[in-house]
């Protein structure tokens, strides 16, 4: 054994403490682990061959499965080459070649007034609130689930400085919040009623298409969006199936 800590004797009941112990006492643990795995594998590969009948899955001798798909062998592959593409993130640039669907995700124009919207957001971050404090207070009220009457009480009892935050009641705050989301018209709710046999039930829905528009419009996701579907291959030339855009069905529905 190359390490002086092949099996640590210390015991921990908390995972945090154990993690810390691993970080501090076994800083070179990767090397240790790799070597122990090799060691164990060597042992098992030696012992496997003569008495394979002793292994728990040896009952199915009649159908040994496809050649070269022995589970142990697979584990060993991973242990020896921890950087195999199978375990890699498929989206990493090192993941071998990619084939893109031609013509997908083509840009057909620019959004009217996008630059204006973008710059408004950059220079007037807390709009429609007039100050950061106003936004922060509103966010605190809403995230803290303070009820309407309490918010009104807060201002009426003089605790809050209505002038610096820009609103003095829940009613005004709600108006601001409606303006806060520039695309809130996409998320409008519609109400309909269902005539059941015994009673009438209301139900609420949004426009599906507008929901899609809303999500596609958010700046927060702009770096993550995938517009072009592709086939990804790992370094050995095998196709990777990971996200929806790398799988077959998206290719099949293309017109």
């Amino acid at each position: 054994m190359p390490s002086k800590y092949p099996f640590c004797r210390l015991k921990y009941t908390r995972s945090g403490a154990y993690e810390k112990h691993l970080r501090t006492a076994h800083a070179g643990l990767d090397i240790v682990l790799a070597s122990t795995v090799q060691y164990i594998n060597m042992e098992s590969s030696v012992s496997d061959n003569p008495d394979a009948s002793k292994r728990p899955d040896s009952d199915c001798k009649s159908d040994p499965g496809p050649a070269g798909l022995e589970p142990d062998e697979f584990c060993r592959d991973i242990a020896y080459e921890p950087d195999t593409e199978v375990l890699d993130d498929a989206t990493s640039p090192s993941a071998g070649k990619q084939i893109h669907y031609e013509g997908a995700g083509q840009v057909i124009g620019d959004v009217d007034g996008f630059e204006h919207e973008y710059s408004t957001l950059c220079y007037n971050l807390w709009a429609p609130f007039n100050s950061e404090q106003g936004f922060k207070l509103a966010s605190w009220f809403i995230e803290g689930k303070v009820c309407k009457s309490r918010i009104n009480q807060y201002f009426s009892s003089g605790l809050g400085d209505a002038e610096s935050v820009g609103y003095s009641s829940m009613h005004k705050l709600e108006n601001y919040l409606q303006l806060l989301d520039p695309y809130s018209q996409y998320l409008q709710w519609f109400e309909e009623q269902v005539e059941d046999c015994q009673r009438t039930l209301p139900f609420f829905y949004r426009n599906v298409l507008d929901c899609v528009r809303y999500l596609l419009r958010q700046i927060a996701y702009r770096d993550d969006f995938v517009y072009v579907l592709r086939h990804e291959y790992d370094s050995t030339g095998q196709r990777i199936y990971a996200e929806m855009h790398t799988a077959d069905s998206w290719w099949d529905v293309q017109v």
Binding site: G65, Q238, V253
Partner: protein, 519 residues
């Protein structure tokens, strides 16, 4: 694009039926993380009243309800009907306009809702026409459900003696279904169903497997050993140490079951060590079966696959179907148990009628022989009557095909929908005055959504180094730290105190015989 839908209970009889929507253009990791806000509430549906099964009037009502529900779905999804072919120009986040073809591609309800909506039989596969008695086999030869065909047979149902009677009867046996989105273009109803890790694996097969294992251990007298090892499991990063024996826990969550999948094989191997003479083969088979299922589950959790890993999954599934017979005798239904009891009584009755004079020296051996014979007969009966033909067993066979068609499996799990319930529905319900709650739920979440979305957008601007002033950056830093980093730290501190108290108790009962080497 994918949709999720679940029925959720608030308290007592109060229910909500939300439908969520999200888009597939976002990578699954981003889309499914609760902080990313990418799952929008699409609708709050009316809940049809519960009707009894017996009376004919109620059956008619149920039919009307189902039709109404279909109308509601048609109303909601009407905007998608034409754009699937013609496309529509949509503004994108980077300031460009693209021609988009929004298509409904997934519909992830839990099992019983799928059954109710598609009007399938409880034991029918939503994807393929598999007869009930073949659910337990690893069959792939059956044809895909064609919901349009069922629609055609519907009118013929009324006038008997139509030309395609045989085909019709066959359809009826397999359970006809109904497409709930008949008007949506380029959407195939059988493809809408997506495998669900939470209900199929964790709360489905793992739970069944634990039942079998318990029966198996009880039969071989190893239950105590199993419980001892189970409670003495050492801690490991991201592994929850079980504090109770398996049978003491009344309800299991998906997270706990996932945890169980990590340790069950090791625990079972230790519990079954040093087998007696006749036990060697059954122990080996049981371990092999559990191992293959755990391996299959592990591979199904992968976020990316190659044809190599899919081949492994298929191989594991084949092996599982080959080895599962060792647990067959523990799938005893009540009816089988009754039959077994009846048979046993009959045998004893017959034996009482035939009285043979036996020498006292032979009496004991005769009695043992008879007992052996009796239990063998019972076991044969149990093996003959029991089967693995339940739906979750069959659903596993769709996993591999699904990966090739739609990508990895965990991203379609219903866990995501369940998580969204908490923030979008249940919190709103608690805040409301319970009077006309749906409206209040919708509005109260809308407020939160606006604020969080603005913060997310600002965060994104910060990452792209847009011109932001100093106090903005400061605020963002602070909000980010309170949202992500600070909360877990505090929680961990609270837990330490409690966990240490418990650990003493665990240590006390820890058995000394198990050393890490044996595991």
């Amino acid at each position: 694009m994918s949709y999720q839908k679940n029925l959720t209970n608030f308290s007592g009889d109060k229910k909500a039926w939300p439908v969520y929507i999200t888009i597939g253009n976002l990578p699954s990791a981003r889309r499914n993380s609760p902080g990313s806000m990418a799952v929008l509430l699409l609708a709050l549906l009316p809940i049809p009243p519960q009707l009894s099964k017996s009376s004919k009037a109620d059956q008619r009502l149920r039919k009307i309800n189902a039709d109404t529900l279909q109308d509601v779905f048609e109303l909601i999804f009407a905007p998608l009907q034409d754009v699937a072919h013609t496309g529509i120009a949509i503004d994108c986040a980077n300031g460009k306009v693209r021609q988009c073809f929004p298509i409904l591609s997934a519909w992830n309800p839990d099992r019983m809702e799928n059954v109710a909506l598609h009007r399938l039989k409880t034991n029918a596969c939503p994807k393929r026409e598999v007869p009930t008695h073949e659910l337990g086999t690893n069959t792939k030869s059956h044809r895909t459900r064609d919901y349009a065909r069922y629609q055609r047979y519907k009118p013929e149902n009324q006038n008997s003696g139509s030309e395609s009677d045989d085909d019709h009867i066959m359809c009826d046996n397999l359970g006809m279904g109904q497409n709930i989105f008949p008007r949506l273009n380029r959407v195939s109803a059988s493809d809408l169903y997506k495998p669900d890790m939470l209900h199929t694996m964790y709360l489905g097969l793992f739970k069944h497997m634990m039942d079998w294992i318990e029966g198996f251990l009880k039969k071989h007298g190893r239950l105590q050993a199993f419980d001892d090892v189970w409670k003495a499991l050492p801690p490991y990063p991201r592994f929850l140490v079980p504090k109770k024996a398996y049978h003491e826990v009344t309800q299991w969550q998906g997270k706990e079951m996932r945890n169980l999948g990590r340790c069950i094989l090791g625990v079972l191997a230790v519990a079954l060590r040093h087998p007696g003479g006749a036990q060697v083969i059954p122990f080996k088979r049981a371990l092999g079966c559990v191992r293959v299922l755990v391996d299959f589950n592990m591979m199904a959790q992968y976020r990316s696959h190659t044809s190599h890993t899919i081949a492994y999954m298929e191989d594991y599934l084949d092996q599982f179907h080959m080895l599962k017979d060792i647990f067959l005798e523990f799938r005893v239904t009540k009816r089988t148990q009754d039959k077994v009891d009846k048979q046993r009584k009959e045998i004893q009755h017959q034996r009482a009628l035939v009285i043979e004079p036996v020498a006292p020296s032979l009496w004991r051996r005769m009695r043992d022989d008879k007992r052996q014979e009796e239990s063998d007969l019972c076991l044969d009966l149990v093996r003959g009557e029991s089967h693995f033909n339940f739906i979750k067993m069959h659903l596993l066979s769709h996993f591999c095909h699904h990966i090739r068609q739609f990508g990895n499996i965990p991203m379609y799990s219903t866990e995501i929908g369940d998580l969204t319930h908490k923030t979008q529905i249940k919190d709103g319900w608690r805040q409301s005055n319970k009077n006309d709650a749906a409206r209040q739920i919708v509005h109260s979440y809308g407020r939160q959504h606006a604020i969080r979305m603005r913060l997310l957008n600002l965060e994104c601007l910060k990452c792209r180094n847009a011109d932001l002033s100093g106090d903005v950056l400061h605020h963002l830093d602070r909000t980010a730290s309170t949202v992500t980093a600070a909360a877990p730290v505090v929680r961990r501190r609270v837990l330490t105190g409690r966990r240490e108290d418990v650990s003493n108790v665990v240590d006390f009962s820890r058995i000394s015989g198990v050393s890490p080497e044996t595991i």
